[in-house]
Amino acid sequence: MIDRPLTQHLRQDGSPVFMTDYRGGGGYEGLRRVLADSSPEDCLQQVKDSRLRGRGGAGFPTGMKWSFVPMGEKAGVGPKYLIANADEMEPGTFKDRIILEQDPHQLIEGMILASYALQANVAYIFLRGEYTVAAERIETAIKECYSAGYLGENIQGSGYSLELHLHRSAGRYICGEETALISALEGKRANPRPKPPFPQVSGLWGRPTIVNNVETLCNITHILTHGAQWYQSLGIGQDSGTKLFGASGNVNNPGCWELPMGTPIREILEQHAGGMREGYTLRGFLPGGGSTDFLTPDHLDLAMDYDVIGKAGSRMGTGTMIILDDRHCPIAMVRNLSHFFAQESCGFCTPCRDGIPWIVQLLDRFESGQATEADLALLEEKARFIGGMGNTHCALAPGAMEPVTSALKYFRDDFERHIHDGRCHYHSDVGGH
């Protein structure tokens, strides 16, 4: 049985797998069988039983998310929508790009299956504008699917029909938030929307809509092809399946690897990422992208499972780790991240629009040696407020504050020393700015 389903088709040279080779490797066989033998209800039950959790960052159970979509006559008149969130823009995250560029049919098969389970008849791939290579290859793959009868009217004689469109985004990180993405797809400014109503009930054009991450949808293909039991058995900890984990920063072998859920962090960093580069020592890491809390070398033996990382005070997020070494200033690192989030705030609510730039200004005072104890107290207070759930319109600002508040917790000595010395003691080394 396959133990690395997400990367099974990928080639060493990174060249794309198109229809002939994808089918040669067993692709679209699951779709053919499901359309012939399974009802949408069967599919939803399989996805629930698999205990798949969303791979975009929040880790919400996919089957539960889907179960809120009204079915049959309850759905009312008009189409339901499935959207693949291919707006990969979380700092330090580079996992979906690999599938989008090298194995677009894996995503498309997952989307057809998910759409069938939800009885959605229109689907979109919302792709960030800078993924130009992926855009070309997805277009090719979509054309191949229409020619082969996997998309369009009456797919494989099943009576089920689906239209799939590629939407190339015009930018902005906030589009990765599902309701902001829907606003963008409707041609508006990408401001997030209040929930409720949830998109499952009232999403794109006011119709029931599911937005799932690329990696999540790829997992659907394998769950519905090989079954929920098999999928559960792939994980070696509490969670099911495999995950595209990654590491970037000053490690010997930065990269992305498909590993079982529950793989220890130490194994990812030491075996797969090859450990720290010579002359660099590990100080901490963000386990799953720029909006997750720092963990430290004390956490290396934790398993990469959603609840394990959650209990340690962080989030698994996207599963792509950003590594902080001893030659880079932790304050400068969170300053870089805060600048990113300040720039990417949609501007809709005041605590986010004005609060995050204030955090950047305070961090700049530390880096330039002007900070006082009063600044440290102010930084702590403002970061806690901006990061407080419910104080802002959406989750961008709370996410932005995760590296800040955790840096204050784990690297407090650095903040104190900047105040005491009146300068950044990393400036003479690499990584000051």
């Binding site: 995250t93 790009r97 130009t132 902005r172 409707e186 990408a190 950003i322 990113f340 720039q343 990584g431």
Partner: protein, 163 residues
């Protein structure tokens, strides 16, 4: 208002109308329409905003609010190629700051500026999703990675900007 529509070419109008045909509301095609105009003209002028707004039956002010929200829609003229320089955290950890300084020295421009010969505009961009190959940037549609080993002079020399 109809006299403004000729500011769009027949090709642009046809492409925009195709996008409109796929969705329930004309103004829902706003972003696609702006991207279509930009593909044809390189950027989106005030005249284009007015013409597209008229075509989509929305106000020019509302359309401009959308155009200025998105960082890949350019409301000012840009060079033949736009350089999107990643200054997010993984590239920063791999010394993107010094690469950016070399870029500034090579081109003689900073963020938001265009070279005097009109070939390049330099802009920052959110994490480009190629952190294993950091530091990275895009020149036009092409991703360039591991830039500390890259000869920027050669990469950006005349004759290299055509593709």
């Amino acid at each position: 208002m109809t006299d403004l529509i000729p500011a769009l070419s027949p090709e642009e109008i046809a492409e925009i109308e195709h996008e409109v045909s796929l969705i329930p509301r004309r103004d829902g095609a706003a972003i696609d329409a702006l991207m279509i105009v930009q593909r044809h003209r390189g950027w989106v002028s005030d005249a284009s905003i007015k013409a597209v707004a008229a075509l989509l039956e929305m106000s020019a002010e509302e359309l401009d609010g959308i155009a200025t929200f998105y960082n890949l829609i350019f409301r000012q003229p840009v060079g033949e190629q736009v350089i999107l320089f990643c200054d997010s955290v993984s590239c920063w950890l791999r010394d993107a700051d010094s690469v950016k300084q070399r870029l500034i020295d090579t081109l003689g421009i900073d963020y938001g500026q265009t070279t005097q010969d009109g070939r390049y505009t330099l802009l920052p961009v959110p994490c480009l999703g190629a952190c294993d190959r950091a530091p990275v940037m895009m020149v036009g549609d092409e991703l360039h990675s591991q830039l500390h080993d890259c000869d920027l002079n050669a990469l950006l020399a005349p004759g290299e900007a055509s593709d």
